[in-house]
């Protein structure tokens, strides 16, 4: 494997600040001191490696991975696909992508979710897969419903899927959310709007992708995920230093 250099600095102006008072819970859970900036060592440049022994092919099919035999989840059938790239536009192969989401009624299968929309007996709400050699991933699922949440009295989350990605080094670790084009709740959601940069919000908004749809079956949405890029190194030095 070619040795690669350090990660580009994380652009903190593009990420939400720790304290975003309109998202009330952040008030008491946000550090007040500045982060201490570290240049990368092996501790940040390396990260866990996953393989096909860790997961099953069915894990990426949320229509069926919790459904009784012959049944499937209720809702708008959706093919969610995209690529995991780095900031140099290079694909990140063989990286673990995990997702979780509410059902079509906006209800999570979670013992702490008490929203009155019903649980779908055939829908678990989580999936995982590894990207292929070109960084591509595919999930089959249903489009999640929006749901109300306790923040201001009448706040609603736009339809969204939570996405967790690893990358090649622990410094690339990222959790984000995938939104869907045309959702009128996006511009008024206090969690979306923790992100100060409108372009960064657009980047989290999946586009409807008719070409990738499975005709008479699933409408597709495309959601690319970008992780931090790396410098290329001239010397093939191992991370251990010398």
């Amino acid at each position: 494997m070619a040795s690669q250099g350090e990660f580009y600095q994380r652009d903190r102006r593009r990420h939400p600040p720790a304290l975003a008072p309109d998202y009330k819970t952040s008030t008491s859970r946000s550090p007040r001191y500045s982060l201490i900036s570290l240049q990368n060592s092996a501790s940040e440049l390396t990260g866990p490696v996953f393989g096909h022994n860790d997961i099953d092919p069915i894990d990426s099919d949320l229509l069926h991975n919790y459904a009784k035999a012959g049944e499937s989840a209720i809702g708008q059938r959706m093919l969610l696909h995209g690529r995991v790239l780095d900031e140099n536009a290079r694909p990140i192969p063989n990286t673990l992508v995990e997702i979780w989401q509410a059902n079509a009624g906006g209800r999570y299968r979670h013992k702490k979710d008490t929203y009155l929309a019903p649980i779908d007996p055939n829908f678990g709400g989580c999936g995982r897969t590894l990207t292929d050699d070109e960084g591509r991933y595919v999930f089959h699922t249903i489009k999640p419903g929006p749901y109300p949440w306790r923040n201001w009295v009448n706040d609603w989350r736009p339809a969204h899927i939570h996405v967790s990605v690893f990358g090649a080094g622990f410094a690339q670790r990222l959790i984000t959310q995938c939104y869907f084009e045309g959702d009128p709740l996006i511009p008024i959601c206090p969690i979306v709007q923790t992100i100060p940069d409108p372009q960064a919000i657009e980047q989290l908004t999946a586009a409807m992708d008719l070409n990738a749809s499975a005709p008479l079956d699933m409408l597709a949405y495309k959601f690319d995920i970008v992780l931090r890029g790396r410098r290329s190194t001239v010397f093939a030095n191992r991370l251990e230093g010398n």
Binding site: T25, S43, N65, A89, H110, D113, A200, Q203, V226
Partner: protein, 207 residues
């Protein structure tokens, strides 16, 4: 004057893991079985050399209350100071992953994991780092995952020359990274409480 465009992409922005992070990353804890194998339950595996230890603590908010919907991930080297990663020189034991994931208890907020104590890893410029475990912390109300490091109270000499600890200008803040060694049933247990905000706020890193 408009210069040439740099054609870099930009990193996707982080969003909070939210209150239901368990569904995706620890579904058993959310209350249902779905995967044959949940990931991250065994950091060191059965063959790892070194001292078997437990690391545990709370994540505490601005009001001094334990946060009960946190997910933490650990990333560490083995006892020889080798990360289980193709770019890191050296071998790890069969079954050693060096990575784990735990959640805080819904009632008490306690978290903990069993592992082996990592060895020293070479840092930048040929300066060895003291043994440490890298932690990544996400939860509802945390907009970007927080990175910190667990160092060990019985590694005083190594800690004193650790290049990362020494980056922290305020000596008092360095103490927030040192897990305190204790013992339970004859087994070493390190206590590491994370304070998100307030007096003795934990040092978090921009890595």
């Amino acid at each position: 004057m408009i210069p040439q465009k740099l054609d870099y992409l930009k990193e996707s922005a982080s969003q909070t893991a939210g209150p239901y992070v368990h569904i995706g990353l620890a579904p058993g804890a959310a209350g249902f079985e779905i995967y044959k194998k949940e990931l991250g339950w065994d950091i060191a595996g059965p063959n790892a050399k070194g001292e078997r230890i437990r690391v545990e603590g709370l994540v505490i908010d601005a009001f001094g209350s334990p946060v009960k919907d946190v997910l933490l991930e650990a990333w560490q080297a083995n006892a020889d100071g080798v990360y289980a990663h193709p770019e890191h020189a050296g071998e790890v034991e069969e079954g050693f992953r060096g990575w784990g994931r735990v959640i805080t208890n819904f009632e008490t907020g306690e978290w903990g994991f069993d592992t082996v104590k990592p060895g020293r890893v070479m840092g930048r410029n040929g300066k060895a780092m003291a043994p440490h475990i890298n932690l990544w912390i996400v939860a509802r109300g945390i907009n970007v995952g927080l990175n910190t490091r667990v160092y060990f109270s019985d590694e005083e000499a190594a800690n004193a020359e650790d290049p990362v600890i020494n980056l922290i200008e305020w000596e008092r803040r360095r103490a927030t990274l040192i897990a305190k060694r204790g013992e339970r049933d004859g087994k070493p247990v390190y206590r590491f409480d994370v304070r998100l905000q307030g007096e003795d706020e934990t040092v978090f890193f921009d890595i």
